[in-house]
């Protein structure tokens, strides 16, 4: 099977969605065009060659890229299915082709980014992953918060692009090469280049101090878009960081470790402490995702190794599935009662027991409670940090996990304990979203106890 097949599928689906939108009139587009292409591309991944180099090395395929593409396609598929599931109770309408097209574009950008073989392709891939996501976050035009979030996102995205371009310009100018590889001799100004590139990656991963956009954007964006931002977009940030660490920054990782440790601790602590105060669940998930990005960085603290890489990819996958489940429940509640405050989850176990159970397992996995997948993922990451001798970071990470348990359990308390008095609207429940949430919940439970997932990833790399 040709190595470019998944990208081609997504690209053609994008074009067909655009054409269909132009001619479909009131009928609207067929969502199958979007999610069918994503599902097909996901299905193709295992049959692609393990190593390939196309277009003179601009497009590379390797196991790491395949794993990232699986994460991107999985998130995109679930986001699309959630988005086209059922309309709001009070607003009927048709599905807009532009929305699905823009989502496909962001997906295509992420896939190009992880397969990029030179600096220009890497940068364009990152922009193609980011800019459509910015537009998507402002998509709910009747909601002023969505516009506000979109504006903040576009301004900070422009700032991060400016820093990144400055870094790339210095890098290309000083090394005289577009290749995505370590410079032959140490560059002058290496520290500045490193700081600028790290700032760009930090923005995508929403690591403090580049996290300022996250909360407002997550809260204002339509929920399927918030899911996209918290899963695939974050994975794209990690992929970008990996590309840099295997490319231009390859020799610099040992010098960067104290900085990475500091960023990780800052992200975990700040995300957790602010999450405790939140009342809106989407905002809450934004801060939760900031702290999760901090845990992810622990995998780098033992230097660049296959074990660390596998630990980070495994945790990314686990985090993505956990977020897909939790956000799926949030979306269901939003469609049932039109709001996403923590209050609206009161007594959910009486109203929709299935959703409440899924939410419980999703949140506990994000908090890292055994035997769920989140625990296993965190365990591997902590082990990496400990292997590198960063015991104080591990200690702080463990303390942070405990704090996070407190705020995740706040929601569980609303759902399971506060069941008396007037309960919010029940809602009637979707069919497909419910099945996806159920599948995700099962995956969270199984991934924690079946060892072959992590072992398989480790073997692939």
């Amino acid at each position: 099977m040709p190595a470019w097949l998944p990208e081609a599928l997504i690209f053609f689906s994008l074009v067909f969605l655009l054409l269909q939108e132009s001619f479909a009139g009131e009928r609207g587009v067929t969502p199958l065009l979007a999610w069918g292409a994503q599902a097909l591309a996901l299905f193709c991944l295992p049959f692609l060659p393990g190593e390939a180099s196309l277009l003179g090395g601009s497009f590379l395929l390797h196991p790491q890229a395949l794993l990232f593409k699986a994460i991107f396609l999985l998130s995109a598929l679930v986001c699309t299915l959630y988005a086209v599931e059922r309309p709001n109770p009070d607003r009927e309408g048709r599905i807009r082709g532009e929305f699905l097209m823009t989502l496909q574009a962001s997906l295509l950008g992420a896939m190009v980014l992880v397969s990029a073989g030179d600096l220009i392709t890497l940068l364009i891939g990152l922009e193609l992953a980011t800019l459509p996501a910015v537009a998507l976050s402002a998509w709910a035009r009747r909601n002023p918060q969505s516009g506000e979030g979109g504006l903040k996102y576009v301004l900070l995205a422009a700032l991060s692009s400016a820093l990144l371009l400055f870094g790339f310009a210095l890098l290309i100018g000083l090394s005289g090469s577009l290749a995505l590889e370590a410079p032959a001799r140490p560059l002058p100004l290496q520290g500045l280049v490193l700081a600028l590139l790290l700032a760009g990656a930090g923005f995508k991963l929403s690591l403090p101090p580049f996290h300022l956009w996250a909360a407002d954007v997550y809260q204002g964006a339509p929920t399927p878009v918030a899911i996209w931002l918290s899963t695939a977009s974050k994975a794209a940030g990690l992929a970008f960081l990996f590309q840099l660490l295997q490319g231009p920054l390859a020799g610099a990782l040992p010098d960067m470790l104290p900085l990475l440790a500091l960023l990780a601790v800052l992200a975990m602590s700040l995300g957790n402490l602010v999450a405790v105060l939140q009342q809106n669940l989407k905002r809450f998930m934004a801060y939760s995702s900031i702290s999760q990005a901090g845990y992810l960085l622990l995998g780098l603290l033992d230097g660049w190794s296959d074990a660390g890489l596998a630990a980070m990819l495994y945790y990314m996958l686990v985090y993505v599935i956990g977020n897909l489940v939790v956000f799926g429940v949030i979306l269901e509640r939003e469609r049932d009662c039109g709001a996403t405050e923590i209050e609206d989850f009161r007594g959910l176990i009486r109203l929709r027991p299935g959703l409440a159970t899924a939410m419980l397992l999703g949140l506990l996995s994000l908090a890292g409670i055994p035997p769920l997948a989140g625990f296993t993922g965190k365990w591997f990451l902590f082990a990496q940090a400990a292997a590198g001798g960063w015991y104080w970071v591990v200690l702080l990470a463990a303390v942070n996990s405990t704090i996070s348990l407190y705020y995740y359990l706040r929601i569980v308390r609303q759902m399971f304990i506060e069941v008396d008095g007037d309960l919010p609207v029940r809602g009637d429940g979707g069919t497909r979203a419910g099945r996806i949430i159920a599948a995700g919940t099962v995956a969270i439970c199984l991934a924690g106890i079946l060892p072959w997932l992590y072992e398989g990833m480790r073997g692939m790399l």
Binding site: S58, P222, L331
Partner: protein, 176 residues
Amino acid sequence: MRPSDPFFYLFALLALGLARACVCSQHLLRATLYLAGVLFCGAAFYVILDAEFLAGIQLLVYIGGISVLLIFAIMLTRGPDLLKDRPSPLRRNLALALSLSFMGLCSFLVLRTDWPAALPAEPHENPVRDMGVRLLNPGEGGLLLPFEVISVLLLCVAIAAIYLARPGSGEERPLS
């Protein structure tokens, strides 16, 4: 001292002054004009560096395209009275301190660095032709993939921008 050096310093001073005026101007339209001036100085630097093609691109795209687009956007969106922005003293000083510290850091690093001799440049008979060939070259060192991907980017961003800017017709399906 090369003969072009006085011009470099002249345009550098001009660029600095215009950039300051652009940032500090109370009026959006004037700021845009100052910005066009800064971009023009950029074109002048390219000429000084013997990169005439880039200078032409700078004039065409940035001054001819982007500045005009900005002016249109300003004129089409709001009345000139609303364009005044008065940042609070705290914000102003904070921004000043941040920019100065970034400038200080960069200058410190640039001055402290031991710069290598310039890389030997390959002679180009026709640099514009070489650039064009490279952009569409699918082989080694070619940039066909980013060239194609950027067209997808432009298409999608343009369509998304039209969707967001279009007056609402009320028939779309809200996603949440």
